[in-house]
């Protein structure tokens, strides 16, 4: 993914905390971030929103500005307030509050401690500076490399009885968010030393256009390798879907491994 930016403006009211949590959760799920880290980052942003509302705003007529930069391997959140809170806090003060409270063992002292512990433990760094909106701008960065779900490689099994054939088990349907997984599977098929493939669909109960497109791509790759592919263990519903788009005309569909072996060997 190249650099993309999302900006939202939220009324400065803690009743909108749920809005920021849902926004962050949905965004990180789209990026395939692991559930544990989705929940951690939700808490990070909830803490920052709470801080902006309580110390940087004077009421619901004010706004909190949230900007998210989606970079190649990193997501960067910026949260800005208007600086209209009763108790003026400048960036240096906030740094000080966070530093002192981080080392304070009292669990009940949460205003800076929660922000400090959660943000410093669960992000790859934060910065506090003056915002052009009038208040404070806090930037938090989170690298994605270690927190995204690893793309699932195809389960390629070579059967003893068919050493030249790779069986690909599609354990889950592909959807629009599975681009990395799709790339991995395509790469695996391209780089496989096998030319004969059996696509086993027994785990799938329905397919979508993304999956159908993927099957067509894989068929083309295997054809270029002078190879062949058959589909086994397909439900009637999926068979109808593939038939509708003409895929069953180019990829044979058979019942089971034994029939697949015959189909691929031309026996």
């Amino acid at each position: 993914m190249t650099s993309e930016q999302i900006r939202i403006v939220i009324p400065s009211d803690l009743r909108f905390s749920n809005t920021i949590r849902n926004f962050v959760g949905d965004l990180l799920k789209v990026l395939d971030v692991q559930e544990l880290w989705v929940n951690r980052m939700i808490l990070v942003m909830d803490e920052l929103f709470m801080n902006a509302v309580k110390y940087g705003s004077s009421g619901i007529q004010d706004n909190v500005y949230v900007t998210v930069d989606l970079l190649e391997n990193e997501v960067v959140f910026y949260i800005e307030d208007m600086g209209t809170g009763i108790k003026k806090v400048d960036p240096e003060d906030l740094h000080q509050i966070i530093g002192v409270n981080r080392d304070d063992p009292s669990l009940a002292k949460t205003s800076g401690r929660g922000l400090s512990m959660i943000v410093s433990n669960w992000t790859n760094g934060y910065n506090i500076e003056k915002s052009e909106k009038g208040g404070i701008k806090i930037t938090v960065r989170k690298q994605l490399e270690d927190i995204v779900e690893k793309p699932k490689s195809m389960e390629q099994v070579t059967l003893e009885s068919m050493p030249d054939v790779a069986v690909v088990n599609f354990s889950e349907k592909f959807d629009v968010h599975d681009s990395e997984r799709e790339k991995t599977l395509i790469r695996d098929v391209e780089e496989s030393d096998k030319a004969m493939f059996i696509f086993d669909l027994h785990h799938l109960d329905y397919v979508n256009s993304v999956f159908i497109g993927l099957l067509a791509k894989l068929f083309n790759i295997i054809s270029k390798k002078q190879g062949r592919v058959v589909i086994i263990n397909i439900s009637d519903t999926i068979k109808d879907a593939l038939k509708l788009v003409g895929l069953t005309d180019i990829i044979p569909v058979v019942q089971n491994l034994e029939e697949a072996r015959h189909a691929l060997s031309g026996v």
Binding site: I42, L43, D46, T110, G114
Partner: protein, 136 residues
């Protein structure tokens, strides 16, 4: 828009000094007052403003809770302190396997090091019953 939490309070047969509170949903600053109203009453009776003599063990089941923040952590720490000062015991139920999110935040801020916690109601109640029997 609003953050929603439901609380279910029940007792344990033959052990009237035990109150179990099951939370479902999310707690943040916006709905913490309604939660604290329920829990504070186990320490100080709101009607008499005196120590609640009926309840000695407050068991909080977080296994169905999906979100808490530092404000809630702060409140729990404070509740633990107040309850202890008045001779009461606060216990938490949270299963790391069932609820990784809540376990994660409680561990990060160190709450699990000061408040006794158990993965399920059965284990928590077993400990409470033993404690009560030993006090007799």
């Amino acid at each position: 828009m609003a953050t929603v939490v439901t609380t279910e309070v029940f007792g344990i047969e033959n052990y009237p000094s035990v109150k179990v509170v099951v939370f479902r949903g999310q707690i943040d600053e916006s709905n913490l007052p309604e939660v604290s109203k329920v829990l504070d009453a186990f320490v100080i009776d709101p009607a008499t403003k005196q120590i609640n003599q009926e309840t000695k063990y407050i068991v909080l089941n977080f296994n169905e809770l999906s979100f808490i923040n530092s404000k809630v952590i702060g409140y729990l720490a404070s509740l633990y302190s107040t309850a202890s000062e008045h001779g009461k015991k606060l216990l938490i139920i949270v299963d790391p396997k069932e609820n990784e999110t809540i376990t994660d935040i409680l561990s990060l801020v160190g709450l699990t090091t000061i408040i006794d916690h158990y993965p399920n109601l059965e284990e928590a109640i077993e400990v409470v019953k033993t404690d009560i029997e030993q006090d007799k």
